[in-house]
Amino acid sequence: MTVPATATVASPEPHSAPAALALRAVYKSFGPVQILFDIDFDLRPGEVHALIGENGAGKSTTMKILAGYLSATSGSVELDGHPVSFVNSEQAEDQGVVMIHQEFNLAEQLSVEQNIFLGREIRKGLFLDKTAMRTKTRELLQRLNCDVDPDARVMDISVPDKQMVEIAKALSRKARVLIMDEPTAVLTNRESEVLFEQVDRLRAEGTAILFTSHKLDEVARIADRITIMRDGHRIMTKSAADLTQDQMAEAMVGRELSNLFPPKTGADADQPVLEVTDLEVPGFVAHASFHLRKGEILGFAGLIGSGRTELMEGVVGLRSHRGNIKINGQDIEINGLSDAKRAGVAYLTEDRKSRGLLLDKGMRENLTLLSLEKFTTGLIDRKSEEAALDKSINDFDIRAPTREVLVGNLSGGNQQKLLIAKTMLSEPEVVIIDEPTRGIDIGTKQQIYEFIHTLAQAGKSIIVISSEMSEVIGLADRVVVMRSGRIVGEVEGNDVNEETIVRLAMGLEGEQQGHE
Amino acid sequence: QDTTVIGVSIPAATHGWAGGMNFHAQEAVDRLEETYPELDFVLATASDPAKQVNDIEDMVAARGIDALVVLPFESEPLTGPVKNVADNGAWVTVVDRGLSEEGIEDLYVAGDNPGFGRVSGEYFADKMPDGGKIVVLRGIPTTIDNERVEGFQSAIDGSGIEVLGMEHGNWNRDDSFTVMQDFLSKYPEIDAVWASDDDMAVGALAAIEQAGREDVQFVLGGAGMKEMIKRVMDGDEMIPADVTYPPSMIATAIELTALNFVSNAPVSGEFVIGSVLITPENAENFYYPDSPF
């Protein structure tokens, strides 16, 4: 029996179909801090259920309880109507409940194939059946249009590829219930679409699927039912057909959202702040030249793997590079991030987990790490650090259960906000932001766009790299497009639209710069 | 004329006495190589018995030694391997520590460990006719140390000397300094110290001096370190005597072995170098200011 993708289940009330997995009156607290309040929730076979809410609303925590990674403080989890208490995730997995985490759950030093089959290796007698595993890995990845080598070590593959490996790992485990925590945060629309095809297939096979996303268009595209959470409470569960994207956003944030993007104001002047000429990042980027004007927001678009990240890491000295960089008309040597910092250039990494934040440290240490000298007169001034943290919590609406929480225990979105706060604390003239809103809820996104806009108006110059086309289009005054390690074009004004950019990014149009 | 290869295998210089022994071995080898061009020496130092066995194996397999001079790290483990060397027809000289099987070696140059303890014990019994309270610093836990302590104990038996405590100072100045400090805290009255080794005596003396304790009348070390002999010679009250256990016995053994190959002198047999009590009267005979030990 299949459920057609578009037809939603008529009634959201519980008695229509038996829940595959359900929560009954679940409360959860970490130490003294209460995170979830009285959550009732059910997930039915053959449905795609979206769990949405602001950063820190408790989505990931809910999912972890469902999948046996955390135990509820009170209340129960029911599988097929019977209460179960998974002692660990393995038991949940044995029952067909599989979860993909928001943060990567891969052993970096192991290969793709080793990760996919970790803990569930295929054996021939005592030994591993490597051929079988490799074949199946290739199959799984092919289904996801992902062509990474099964023998590549995970530490050597790109972030989106890691996500695909995570998905392949979950698919390999034959789930009855598949729980995905922001699977598309690091994917582009095209890759997300590949994932959704798989989701459609699984739904047709009767799998119950729960997922979260901050991209509401995706939610509308794929979900049958939607549950909205706010501050640890379940606000509503509705059929997707009954909710527009605006209604979702409003219900999540608890207020009306005005226009997502602030109006564009353009550059202050023609005066270039940053000029990059003929930059080469060996192995990744060649002959890249561009400039950034004062007060301008410059977008960088391109497909995943087009080398935007590497180009910018080259510019700020995190990668070795050749070529010429001028700041305010002066040639400068940038051999490390501290050179860039001295020149007033800051870079916000796209990889907050392994390059952005110290997960086993508190918020204060993380916030000030980049600009510690501001807080140091011989010794570190703890008081002004605390004041800076107060200000950042306020400015960026960082929601943490306690002030001393380890950053690894913050919700994904709040980590991202902290990372932005950390970068901004260095008060740069030029800010390069790589994927600024990964995993950020729509309400906060608006705040961040507003913030970027304000910065630009204050005369700072900003580069935004984003794989969300709408973000680049909505924010940038001018957009540079990259493809395969080259800058392939630049659009401005009315040309900043999806079609032009996509054509350039895919190589259907435009000539290569620096190609004599 | 063919060269004769003589292997010398000794423990590494991990404490003062062994250091002196290393020096004498090296010096003897250099001297003999110069005098007798037809002799070739292979000197190896080992940090544990297994390494010493390796060294000996290598000397046989790759250097084709005609003679082996060995100061066994421990008797037991070296017996088999040295026997193999002897069975291969090489000349074997054993120094200081006898092997646990008789008749393997051609020449045995020995110190006398029980004798060392006995001479020390007799000195105490002699010096403290009315008995007294003493503490004892022991060496690295080994058979040698056991033999010395047993010899000492049987010598003081019935003399009324009470041993308050014994701890291992491991033939090490720092360790014995620490142990002596703690002995001084623990026992309000100590009449004398048997440090059983000159390195340990140095540490013990420093601790006593630091504590400013007048009750300790003297410290008896052992082995014949030149600084100690000098103090005996000078009539230092804290160091009234010393007991020899000369590290130069290795040089004697090497020379005798060499002699076997360059002359017709009969050198096989057993040479026991007894431990002698050094007192201010005879100290001059044992003082070699140029030796490093």
């Binding site: 970790l118 803990g119 070795s320 190589g507 | 292979v42 297994a50 390796n54 790759a62 058979t143 056991n146």
Partner: protein, 335 residues
Amino acid sequence: MSDTVSVKPASNRASPFLDLHILGPILALIVLVVIGALMNPNFLSYANITNVLARSAFIGIIAVGMTFVITAGGLDLSVGSMAAFIAGLMILVMNALLPAMGSGVGVILVGMLTALVAGLLAGGLNGFLITHMRIEAFIVTLGSMGIYRSLVTWLADGGTLSLDFGLREIYGPVYYGGLFGISWPIIIFALVAIIGEVVMRHTAFGRHCAAIGSNEKVARYSAVHVGRVRMATYVLLGILVGVATIMYVPRLGSASSATGVLWELEAIAAVIIGGTVLKGGFGRVWGTVIGVLILSLIGNILNLTDMVSPYLNGAIQGVIIVLAVVLQRDKKAEG
């Protein structure tokens, strides 16, 4: 169409660095062999090669076990004193049984069994404290290092425990004998190494070790029995220490507080020279075998030649160890 892009986005990466990383230890070994052969014609003789291989067996067998422990993110400093303790225990047991059982193979077999069981228990104890009591492996094994070393000193009353001479005759061939001209320690070492390599690369256990060492949480989330696997690495190491001791006792016929001193450092050094990562997550048994051989060869070569002064042996050894690793140093992956 513009297909003149010179930039290749990763993927087919036969990077020369990887190769050097693999070839590094092998290269170092070859260099050493060449040096040895040039310095002394007897270096490549059957007798010398046999000696070197056979004496590598003790550390080698232990180092194979250590590879698993380190790969899983652990460490064991106690193996040297554990070996000394097991050797002492074995000798005591065999000597004690001699009157009852008579001088024969039976006593030897019981002795061997004792060694294996003692190794299992000792490893198990380390593992228990580390996995269940959650104490830092460094501290646990530093503690047990002191404990075993003391115990053997105490068992031997400060001296040496010696195996009965009659038994030594019977037991001797286990070290000195062999099959087809290959001595037993070499055969056992080879077997342990091959099995270790297979287990590391071709069983779930090996993968799980790497996974735990790489990221314990990920392993736990992937249904790997983290505690059990980690425990198993220590037990395995304990048993291998037992095996090494079974080979060691017939060689020297005795045990004392000087037995196995610094074996732990040597074993760990061999593991790391072989390319296993000290912080865990990646291990290779064949590399460890090469590491062990490199270390033994250094000692052997120093004995084969007349170096400046034996006092400087340690210095030369140190320099060579560092050089051997320079050959395969991690060219830090950028970014």
